[in-house]
């Protein structure tokens, strides 16, 4: 049984989007829409917590990269929380681990 996809937003000076489940071509649009909504509120920095993500493909990476561009062009950043091997491996394969700022906990990402 696959884990259900879920995106929950935790408010704060820097909002945290906690994602659970598998991010693929069918679920990535929801993550993209949440990032766009946060950006349109005038927020310049966001944390995307991927510690409960069990699968992430190239379309999910595309959403994260476009989100990163959006937030950085507004003078802020999109920070990632990554703890799982499957997610860190995809980031390393594609070289994106050198593009994103990656943290081990949401607290560390928020306070960075």
């Amino acid at each position: 049984m696959e884990e259900e996809f879920e995106v929950a937003e935790h408010d704060g000076d820097i909002p945290v989007l906690a994602v659970r489940g598998e991010i693929d071509v069918s679920t990535a649009p929801e993550l993209r829409d949440r990032l766009v909504q946060i950006n349109q509120r005038g927020t310049t920095t966001v944390v995307v917590d991927l510690s409960e993500v069990s699968f992430l493909d190239s379309t999910a990476l595309g959403v994260l990269v476009s989100g990163l561009k959006r937030f950085r062009s507004a003078g802020g950043d999109l920070r990632l929380v990554v703890t799982g091997r499957s997610v860190s491996k995809v980031l390393e394969i594609t070289g994106l681990h050198e593009v994103f700022k990656i943290y081990e906990t949401a607290e560390a990402a928020v306070s960075a």
């Binding site: 693929d24 071509v25 493909d57 190239s58 990476l61 595309g62 959403v63 499957s86 394969i93 070289g95």
Partner: protein, 142 residues
């Protein structure tokens, strides 16, 4: 006498829409598990099969995706081909089956290069159809 599962070939035909790619990769993972691939190899295969299918269904016109999984020379092999919509039937999407998010062929190719031993894609049979294959060798110690 037990059946030789390694001699089996598994075929799957799914609609060429994004909602069904989950079935393609979980089927591949289940088959790899039955063929004694390691946990890490199965995780790699899940992602590789997802990218493989994305590459096939990306672009307009495909109605179905036919997949065949089999074991050959200690490798899991996957062959896939798109079946185009026939006149009067409903293609997956006019703008491509990946629809709402942008497909990055470059990222997808980088992932496939890193995770499998061999992969490729070619046009045909027929205008607009695509055929693709991949092979991932099992760790000899598993």
């Amino acid at each position: 006498m037990s059946r030789d599962l390694h001699a089996d070939r598994v075929e799957l035909s799914i609609p060429a829409t994004v909602e069904w790619l989950l079935l393609a990769r979980t089927t591949g993972a289940a088959i790899a598990s039955r063929w004694s691939f390691t946990y890490d190899e199965i995780a790699d295969l899940k992602l590789a099969i997802d990218e493989f299918c994305l590459t096939l269904v990306e672009g307009p016109g495909a109605e179905r995706l036919d997949l065949a999984y089999y074991l050959e020379n200690d490798s899991l092999c996957l062959e896939g081909r798109t079946v185009l919509a026939t006149p009067g039937s409903q293609a997956a999407s006019d703008s491509g089956a990946t629809g709402a998010v942008t497909f990055s062929a470059d990222l997808s190719a980088r992932i496939l290069d890193a995770l499998v031993d061999e992969h490729g894609i070619s046009d045909g049979p027929g205008d607009g159809a695509k055929t693709a294959w991949l092979r991932k060798k099992r760790n000899p110690l598993s």
